[in-house]
């Protein structure tokens, strides 16, 4: 349950790769194209292209056309959150259908719903979690931040 899509997976991998090429020690400032990433991670080329286009449209990366073209990060890796990446590909975070329902499209259970409030709490927690992690945190070598919900603490299990 709560699985993220393959596209989102690809987005994360690609961004990690772009960030590494751009800020890594080996060949810093390198522009990386779609084909390189697709081959590196065994991702279908054209599907990855779609994903990168979407990321570019959402201003997470910048595209450069023509030979020697490719993608670079639109801003520093520590300014790109996991939440931003995932939301670019999969749309806004929404545990339930009614998480962001517009006026006029209320769900059938709405008036009697007994789980809306607690679920929104859960959603907020996940949102905080995803917003607190950046692409930088995902870079290899960097020790990952320790994540623990305060709610989980002190719960005997």
């Amino acid at each position: 349950m709560l699985k993220i899509s393959k596209k989102a997976d690809y987005a994360l991998m690609a961004l990690q790769h772009i960030a590494a090429a751009q800020f890594g020690d080996v060949t810093p400032g390198r522009v990386v194209n779609t084909k390189e990433i697709a081959e590196e991670y065994n991702i279908p080329l054209e599907l990855l292209a779609k994903v990168l286009q979407t990321l570019a449209k959402n201003a997470l990366i910048e595209s450069h056309n023509g030979p020697k073209g490719g993608y670079v990060l639109a801003r520093r890796a520590d300014k790109i959150t996991i939440a931003q990446i995932l939301e670019s590909i999969e749309g806004p975070l929404g545990i339930t259908d009614c998480s962001h329902e517009k006026d006029g499209e209320l769900c059938m259970q709405r008036d009697n719903c007994n789980i809306r409030t607690p679920l929104l709490k859960v959603q907020d927690s996940i949102a905080q979690l995803l917003n607190s992690m950046t692409l930088q945190d995902m870079m290899g070598g960097t020790p990952l931040i320790t994540i623990q919900s305060s709610a989980a603490q002190g719960v005997a299990r």
Copy 2:
């Protein structure tokens, strides 16, 4: 993104209702049947039946056949976690495909995967969150626990 299924929604609503009927002030100890829940929350009867059967099979509720039959909680509401409920319906928590891949079905990206570890961290955090909330916490009136990831604290946003 990260939406839970309608079935899982129904499961949460139903369990909340059963718990309320069982431990509420009005008519404690009441056994509630599928039809009552379906009508209360506008859930398709037969679909809800499936959901409740699954919950029974996973030992979250107990079924009683025959007239006056229905469902009761298998244990106290504070001993049933949101994680248990969701996993009963949607299967184990898995942010990525490779979260619990068995031997022999490795994903194509496996050997080169640069995002597996951080994603598993995210997954663990969500698991902790869902395990820390119980059906009891979802009961109406009860002030919901304050959930906040420690990682989110101290992050300017």
